[in-house]
Symmetry: C2
Subunit: 398 residues, 2 copies
């Protein structure tokens, strides 16, 4: 694949109609009536052009995508969810390559080209998920930009051997060090954070911590995460995922903390759940905290919901927060584009000359229209090559 | 159109594979390997067969469907929303027939065949919306079952002349008497309810009241609605729409009231908003309160959201309430099928011999799969005739 393509007659983020010329997978020119002799042309038909969407938090390795419907059997406590999943994943015989690969192709077909996926490690199955996901990344390397977080799903300190597995995973190529409820699950928050930030410091990596712990407990832990971020010089490289607690305490309680999150460039990830509180994103955004969105688990043992459509995730966030004005619908889109790119430290992101041509053409009138309507009619272009059309991934690699 | 059709190889609500024979628009037989000589046949390909979906609360007359994107300019107070809408509808020149008709066709294309739509009346424009909607109903009478509520959007008592317009609308053929925040908007709750229930009693109609009023104020008004329902003998014919207040007070406060709602068969309608509280449907359902779903306004001056897809509405409710188990995903589907039919007093509803053949074929494995995935691949059959396929309405009447 050459990665040469002229895209005619598109509106970048709803702007005026222009052409793009892509050479060698990168945007070579943006303008009106550009000549592009000898390059295949795609008629954009006046559609909206968006940068490739960003999935900031998912768990591809654990999906049951493509398997027969399985009645959800999880809960009610977080521990029950974890144990239920372990049981189910022991039973499933379809390999990760097929489940995660199928889901990855479905996500790409909806326009996502940049992923952060958490990968379970566990003394029971060791690095099996890591190895499968690293192989998957290789298989789609020319299409999707994937980064991984090593994730101690069953606990870190409470599961001896887990920290060593995390270190192994990082040596194998996993970028980011994960954590999970330092107090609620691991029951020793400071040692948990010392371990996570210690690994990050040793290997020069970022940190991404799942935080479900509630109210004051959760807020206190985010304060400690900020402390560790400052102490280890990891400004701009830390994410707190979920952080329901920030929506569970009065705003006055977190005003100073929110300013620290902005200053330390600690991103917050939400999947926009509607059955629990979420961080007060309208206000946090105003003071400069970076908010991005992720699907979290998609069709897995935790939940039957999800389809990997990041336009739908932006809609769910806007719906959750009553973001109805154009400015706020654009803010919702940003959580699955620019903010995600910022959180994941993506270079080269966005529609600009010199950047990789990772693009989604959407049959929509405006950004707001794209977010609320989430049209199925999309053409996905990865590094100058059309990889999906109308929801269908072209040339499956399963 | 004859309304004769054999549908082969479908799974009713996910049950075993069967055939249906439809004659004269009604289900004549359900069984395995049915003979149906001389009748056109449709291969269901093993898909899920659902009854036509029920939209229990929308505002077709006010939609801006099909118009160019209009940035939302509403709010912040309820009164601001109302005034903003009045201003916009004064400016819009595309007639209701085209806007509401376009939306109606889109809803039908997604499988909705039964509608309750509120219609604004107002001293400013009188019965214009009513007349347009009655004409629209006629135009689609052979496909969609539509019932109307006369809705005093700008207030009843505070807008002199409104009660007389409501009575006129009922005489013209509107079925149900509407109300709106008897305390918060009309500022005289008892006279408001006397007027609404008085009209209902005089003409033998049902009642459907929009209730946005919050917390104790809202709960107190629902108690009064129950009083009026009992006093006027309207058991089974009353709906309270929205009723956020029931999710805003402790459960203990509404235990007796909830039992009265069940006993008086007062239905609750929610659009499953995620930015405010909703009635505690998991518990209310257990004690027998009928909960149904509506889209509320779709792409109108109130909100840019909505697409009329009742499977999506069921998903949003399930997502809102963490209904992930199969039983609860079926409960979510029921809010847009059986519960809606019960709330609207539909006869003939459901997939059974003798009933009208109003059906949706969905490319889904189970009810849960249909709700979480909302496949676009649907075939919609109204009274034995295929009226829509794959999201496209056949033979538009616009």
């Amino acid at each position: 694949m050459s990665g040469d393509l002229a895209i005619r007659n598109v509106r970048i983020l709803g702007g005026p109609t222009v052409d793009l010329v892509i050479r060698g997978g990168r945007i070579a020119a943006i303008g009106v009536g550009l000549a592009a002799p000898g390059i295949p042309a795609l008629d954009g038909k006046g559609r909206l052009l968006l940068p490739g969407l960003v999935e900031s938090h998912t768990h591809l390795d654990k999906t049951l995508w493509g398997l027969p419907w399985r009645p959800n059997s999880a809960g009610p406590t977080l521990k029950d969810y974890i144990e239920n999943e372990r049981r189910i994943l022991r039973e499933v015989t379809v390999p990760i390559a097929r489940r995660a690969g199928g889901l990855l192709e479905a996500c790409i077909a909806r326009g996502t080209l940049h992923f952060r996926s958490h990968i379970d490690i566990d003394p029971e199955f060791g690095l099996a998920h890591v190895e499968a996901m690293l192989a998957l990344r290789e298989r789609y390397r020319d299409i999707a930009e994937m980064q991984f977080v090593v994730f101690p799903q069953t606990g870190l300190l409470i599961r001896p051997g887990t920290a060593a597995l995390m270190e192994e995973a990082i040596k194998l190529g996993v970028e980011t060090v994960g954590g999970l409820d330092p107090a609620g699950i691991d029951r020793d928050p400071i040692r948990h954070l010392e371990t996570v930030f210690g690994l990050a410091g040793k290997y020069g990596r970022g940190v991404d911590i799942h935080l479900h712990d509630r109210e004051e407990s959760g807020v206190w832990q985010i304060e400690r995460i900020a402390d560790f971020t400052a102490a280890t010089g990891l400004k701009g490289k830390v994410m707190v995922s979920h952080a329901y607690c920030l929506g569970q305490v009065p705003r006055a309680r977190i005003e100073a903390l929110a300013q620290r999150l902005a200053d330390l460039e600690i991103s917050l990830m939400t999947s926009a759940p509607a059955d629990t509180e979420i961080p007060p994103a309208t206000w946090l955004r105003e003071i400069g905290v970076n908010i991005c969105c992720g699907s979290d688990g998609i069709r897995d043992a935790w939940s039957p919901f999800g389809n990997g459509d990041m336009l739908e995730r932006a809609m769910l966030l806007a719906y959750r927060l009553d973001w109805s004005k154009d400015e706020m619908l654009a803010a919702a889109l940003a959580t699955v584009t620019d903010n995600g790119a910022r959180a994941l430290g993506l270079h080269d992101y966005g529609i600009a000359v010199g950047h990789e041509a990772n693009l989604v053409l959407v049959e929509a009138e405006t950004i707001g229209d794209a977010v609320v309507r989430r049209p199925a009619e999309r053409t996905v272009i990865a590094r100058g090559k059309v990889v999906a059309k109308d929801g269908k991934f072209i040339d499956s690699r399963l």
